[in-house]
């Protein structure tokens, strides 16, 4: 009996019925919202600290209609995307090469393992000195903070390519180059997409840090300004937008995985 129950708790079998799963997913989002409604309605917390959902929606609406929201969001998305892309373009191929070739791994693993532990945010002053205060330092900051995770996670994924698959390819007449390009990369593609999805969150985290350095627009910048004027409802609104956009991108990655790697899902 007990083992049966344990198996039920730990397996995803309980979630077979989609109604039950949707119910849980809904609860996960609705419960905090209801709690927020109740607490702000009961006025147990000073509304200056905890704005009501209505205030937040008002603020959201006014920012949207004045065009600030779009300007902020597009500036932020652009920064995240460029930094993230840079980290992907550099990190994924290096990760694959590190996974595939012991020499490249021996050359790069200690360095990336070491640099990974330097907080990206701490590079900020240096980046300003080197790159000025334009977009460049913000994008590079996001890229630095993401790239080493990409490298190490992709490298690990390559370890799971079955040896038989690589050796079969060689005996079929494939060159080492073909093995890397057509077998290792293709086999790890689902893991690469998943790695990028997970590390997208890192890029978003760094966005706000990046916008602390002299930015004109941006969601992180707006939050900082709102704090100066004690506009907590605006902070809430921007946080909400950040969360929603991140969540949407996460879903987009999951969709991409389903579309491109049907064999793996």
């Amino acid at each position: 009996m007990i083992t049966h129950a344990i198996r039920r708790w730990f397996s995803s079998e309980v979630l077979r019925s989609s109604a039950w799963r949707l119910g849980l997913h809904g609860t996960s989002l609705l419960l905090p919202l209801l709690l927020w409604l109740a607490v702000s309605h009961a006025q147990v917390v000073d509304p200056a600290f905890l704005p009501s959902p209505a205030q937040v929606i008002d603020s959201l609406w006014s920012m949207a209609s004045s065009g600030i929201l779009l300007a902020d969001a597009s500036a932020s998305v652009r920064r995240v995307m460029l930094g993230f892309l840079l980290a992907a373009v550099v990190g994924v191929p290096l990760g694959i090469l590190m996974g595939a070739f012991a020499t490249i791994r021996a050359l790069l693993e200690p360095l990336s393992g070491f640099l990974r532990y330097m907080p990206a945010a701490a590079f900020t002053p240096l980046l300003i000195i080197y790159l000025g205060i334009d977009e460049a330092p913000k994008i590079v900051l996001i890229a630095i903070g993401t790239v080493f995770f990409n490298m190490l996670m992709v490298m690990d994924a390559v370890k799971f390519v079955p040896r038989e698959l690589i050796e079969t390819t060689l005996t079929l007449g494939g060159s080492r180059r073909q093995v890397v390009a057509q077998v290792i990369t293709r086999y790890t593609l689902p893991s690469i997409i998943d790695t990028l999805r997970i590390n997208m969150a890192t890029s978003w985290n760094l966005l706000v840090v990046a916008e602390l350095l002299a930015a004109e627009v941006g969601l992180g910048k707006r939050i900082q300004l709102a704090q100066r004027f004690f506009r907590t409802e605006q902070i809430f609104a921007d946080l909400l937008v950040l969360g929603l956009m991140g969540f949407a991108i996460d879903l987009a990655f999951r969709l991409l995985l389903r579309l491109t790697c049907r064999w793996a899902v």
């Binding site: 038989e164 698959l165 050796e167 079969t168 057509q182």
Partner: protein
């Protein structure tokens, strides 16, 4: 075609940790022959096959293919593993075509025709669009064989190809492989731990004794192979199998004696 192994030895590790895995192996396989190498796990039979495929380098001795020394893996020696060797993102037809595409010496048309032909040969012509994960283990192994053959090797190396299959499917696959060999001008080297399988299929059986792996017996079983299912239980077959099993046992009990610090 002549595939020749001369005094091959293989040692793993170095210095005090060196372990002799294969000792002085001599083999000759000619066009159209079906050779089996049979031995227990740990007899070094997979290492021997990996050397033949060019995936391991012999510590001593040479392997020659038509006089040319083998220095690495190549499309003249096709390989079929026990499992996990189909490309999971490609359907069966794409799997079969993959080797030809890698080589770049086949035209589009050739690739299409050869893919269709070899899928038919292994009886999967109507399953071409399936993904490997939608197929049984037996089907997957047939595709692996078709893929190896489509790449046009001079010799097919099979590393316990049916070892992971259920018993009754294994018998079907043995029948399949034998008929395939009869029908095509296949040259095959089969590695197996299954004495029955070796005697049933091969014209030339080499027994590998362990510690270190060396060829202890070579025989050329000569059976009437019209009906493999009956052959398995025919007295002459069983007698030969038993004789060989006993011979293997006696060799192995000798080699269990510690050989000092060699």
């Amino acid at each position: 075609m002549e595939f020749n192994v001369q005094s091959l030895s293989k040692t793993f590790g170095e210095g005090r940790h060196a372990r002799l895995v294969l000792q002085n192996i001599n083999l000759r396989v000619r066009s159209g022959e079906f050779t089996a190498i049979v031995g227990r796990s740990g007899s070094g039979k997979s290492t021997l096959l990996r050397c033949l495929a060019g995936l391991e380098r012999p510590s001593r001795g040479v392997i020659r293919m038509d006089g040319q020394p083998v220095t690495g893996p190549g499309p003249d020696r096709g390989l079929v593993f026990q499992n996990y060797s189909l490309y999971p993102w490609l359907n069966l037809a794409q799997n079969v075509a993959f080797g030809m595409e890698l080589q770049g010496r086949f035209s589009r048309r050739d690739i299409r025709e050869r893919t269709a032909y070899f899928l038919d040969v292994v009886g999967l012509g109507d399953r071409r669009k399936l993904l490997p994960r939608e197929c049984s283990g037996g089907m997957q192994q047939r595709v692996a064989i078709a893929r190896a053959l489509a790449a046009d090797p001079k010799v097919l190396l099979l590393d316990e190809p049916f070892g992971a299959l259920d018993l009754h499917i294994r018998a079907t696959m043995q029948e399949f492989l034998y008929r395939l060999w009869e029908r095509t001008c296949l040259t095959a080297i089969l590695i197996t731990h299954d004495l029955e399988e070796a005697l049933l299929l091969a014209q030339q059986v080499h027994v590998l004794a362990p510690n270190p792996g060396r060829i202890s017996h070579t025989l050329a079983p000569n059976f009437d192979r019209q009906d493999l299912d009956n052959l398995r239980f025919s007295p002459s077959f069983l007698q030969q199998r038993r004789g060989l099993a006993m011979a293997m046992e006696s060799v192995e009990s000798c080699s269990d004696v510690p050989q000092g610090a060699s």
